[in-house]
Subunit: 502 residues, 2 copies
């Protein structure tokens, strides 16, 4: 029997890997007898075409079936349905993982996005999507030199277990560094984290019970929304507006009694906006009055390209409710996996209890090297250099956008950070535009990814940090081409329609 | 007013740091007027004596009060109660963290233990407690050489973000390494973790909902019990017995329908016991029948000092239900923070979704160096060396115990791992013995720490891996002295009495 007939109208979904779904489908057909013992199955190439997946996925599907005893793969000949004997002992035996796993709370449109991003990617694609520093400027040589020069000074036990809250010298160094940024803290208010993502997770773990409300500024960092939602929080969104929407915030505070506000006050991902000094003070006052904890995520404040941004919320915190979070991933390199949190000692104490379950403590070698890097003054110099480089790239990208897409896009020039937040003035679906852009060899992130609830589908984020000026110009030119492919006629029909799913 | 009168009968507890509790107490007395503005408070030394805490704790308490505006510290003069004006604006303002934090599920007696361990510690204490490799044998020089020799081969992007499941070459290397140990797996069945503790945590996160049952073998690794309990699991204990207690297990399975069994089949922490090959097979059959997932924690199987131990449960797994967990902390160095999990692809897929929230991915530098270390054959050699060293230490410790404490202790000689599990034949409370031992300058872990429910208080764990033969001998001699301090008369009165707390 031809397998292609069996899989008519079969749709793969994103709940489990494709190859497992394909294997499961074929297995059903073997078990119910549609495919008979000894029958030759399609070649891997054909199977890949049938399901519109990669050849590797097809190979993995067959391998998985082979492991389960359902098929046998004969090299050079093909894949055949195995005999029943091997089958039966297996069929009843395999553990039903989907029934054992906890129900999965599906946070926002992350999976959909990652699906979009991997499909139809050109070899020389220019990524204007991921918010990462330019790898060409990772200070690897300096880290390597520090490793060479200082290794002898370490005690063997520095490579053993260290306290949950981190490598003591690094905590001390960070405390001093923060002092110069107006955040006065003792070292028992600081904990080293395995990236600031871990700070989001742990904060949510110790504060949020299913059904609790959390306020975010929409749009905001996807990873935060996902963590809150995955732990069962109900997310309230403060809309984007010229001034900070205090009235809406106060309404939320009285109506829902949320415990936590998550915000990125400086060069927010994805909008690049900065909360001004007056708004910061007012926010602290309001939060103190309502006993609202604020999770201040601050990865970008050292990447300013004009004036220094206003003091952080933590620097103004006179009620002990600001949980300050930052990371070295954006200013140095993500592979270090190091971030840190500053908060009230009672809060840090509880975070420590939680972190010991998650990973005992963060990586020693990274902490040791980073401490040296800061102490020897390399970080300060690196920041000066990177600000210059990124300022240039921002200028090049905004000028290119103004020249070639001025009539079709609107955006604000960001004063720091990595991102330009664009709004398209045409009636194009951003998802369709992304597919077109990927074909042309450029990528961006559709705005929807930064919202807890589906938005207008008119916005997208461009990142200017990862590539040099030449590549940025080529990227914007490709983007222009992709937008150009939509004819006037197409604009009108792609109006957002919501149809019932029946 | 003398502050010592105010704190009569005040007990510090372990729910928050001591200095905060002391500060809170003094604050109450300031706010209620018992302590008046301008009054001089006890010197730090006195305060430390009053509360029986360290001087640092006293200093921190005053600093915390100063930060809150309640006292002012005048250098060289002392600490004084501040004037009311500063006070009042603060008093109403501070965020009430204890009300905001989620209720804390207090797992077992971990805190109590850590309290015991830090009190009255002599400078030259010999730790026979922590289960760690000897830092003097951490292969730091080789890691350093690999760093020097291979750094040039890395791409800058290797220091950026990598996939959640880990550094691809290391996953491949681990897959091959496992193949030689009888565990056949594809690389999509492997995920790199930030230590195997993370594997315990993530497994519990994706499987356990509050109220779910988890089976453990009692006694077992404390960190596992804590993770299960902190996520709301109800822990069922299989008692220790000559043969594996299959009848009790089956009773648990039918009675409670647990999802998960946690076990360390080889050189179990703390008992050092090994499940034999027949028991392993039978366990797999039973688990398959009841659709029971098994979390096999296997940190020690490469540290065997006699014959190779039997094949792992994962090697026998024909129903896809064994989640295999191991780490490089015990065989190399804990500071690497690297472990790994091998499980069914459906399970790994879900673990990946969870791990991305916790830390995005594990540290790149450690993964890269570890991969080289294994590939160049250093791991195999290191294991041969360490087996020799630890075998010797085990011999020395067991002989010393037999010579000096034979009549008072009973234990089995472990065939591998780090631990000797001792049972004391006298009526001494292990907690009292520990206090005595700490005064004599030696430490061990009382058995209670390895149980989900209070046990007999007759057992304790000694670790022979951390120190050389000479120190081991001195440690056992100190232990003998501590036991000797208990007179015959004391043995009888320390019988375990349970009195109501009123």
């Amino acid at each position: 029997m031809n397998i292609s007939k069996l899989i008519v109208n079969t749709k793969l979904d994103t709940t489990s890997p494709y190859y497992l779904q394909i294997a499961a489908l074929i297995k059903t057909k073997i078990v119910d007898g549609s495919l008979t013992v000894g029958e030759k199955l399609p070649a891997e190439r054909e199977l890949a075409l049938l399901f519109e997946v990669s050849r590797t996925t097809a190979i993995n599907a067959y391998r998985h079936l082979e492991k389960g005893g359902y098929v046998s793969i004969k090299n050079g000949s093909g894949t055949y349905v195995s005999d029943r004997y091997a089958l039966e002992s297996k069929t009843n035996n395999e553990i039903p993982w989907p029934q054992l796993l906890k129900p999965y709370i599906h946070p926002s449109m992350a999976t959909l996005m990652s699906e979009l991003m991997v499909s139809n990617v050109l070899e020389d694609k220019i990524s204007l999507d991921a918010g990462m520093p330019d790898p060409n400027y990772y200070p690897i040589d300096i880290f390597s030199k520090l490793h060479r020069d200082y290794l002898a000074e370490l005690e063997p036990r520095d490579f053993g277990h260290i306290p949950v809250h981190g490598y003591e010298p690094l905590r001390h160094t960070i405390t001093q560094m923060l002092g110069s940024e107006g955040i006065k803290c003792y070292s028992d208010e600081v904990i080293i984290l395995s990236g600031s993502q871990q700070g989001l997770y742990l904060t949510a773990r110790v504060l949020i019970e299913p059904g609790d409300y959390v306020i975010i500024q929409a749009p905001t960092y996807l990873g935060a929304i996902q963590v809150f939602q995955s732990l069962g929080a109900r997310v309230l969104s403060l809309p984007q507006s010229e001034d900070f929407p205090f009235e809406i915030l106060e309404d939320y505070l009285t109506r829902y009694r949320p415990k936590l506000l998550y915000c990125i006050p400086t060069f927010r991902n994805p909008t690049g906006t900065v909360m001004n000094a007056g708004e910061r003070k007012k926010l602290i006052q309001l939060a103190a009055r309502y006993r609202l904890a604020i999770l201040e995520d601050d990865p970008y404040s050292n990447l300013y390209y004009e004036d220094r941004p206003p003091a952080s919320l933590k620097a103004l915190d006179d009620y002990g409710g600001v949980i300050y979070l930052s990371t070295f991933s954006k200013i140095l390199m993500p592979g270090l996996r190091l971030g840190y949190m500053v908060a009230h000692p009672s809060f840090i104490h509880r975070i420590i209890l939680e972190k010991q379950y998650v990973d005992l403590h963060s990586n020693n070698i990274s902490q040791w090297l980073l401490d040296l890097f800061i102490k020897e003054g390399y970080l300060a110099n690196h920041l000066i250099k990177m600000r210059g480089i990124y300022r240039n790239r921002r200028n090049v990208m905004t000028e290119a956008l103004n020249q070639s897409l001025k009539s079709k896009l609107s955006f604000q020039i960001p004063q720091g950070g990595f991102y330009i937040w664009c709004k398209i003035n045409e009636n194009i679906s951003l998802k369709k535009l992304l597919q077109e852009a990927l074909k042309t060899g450029v990528s961006f992130v559709p705005g929807e990814a930064f919202y807890a609830a589906p938005g207008e589908d008119k916005e997208f984020r461009l990142c200017f940090s990862q590539h040099n000026e030449e590549i940025i110009l080529e990227g914007i030119s490709r983007l222009e081409k992709s937008i150009g492919k939509f004819k006037k006629s197409q604009f009108s029909i792609s109006k957002r329609e919501v149809r019932p799913i029946i």
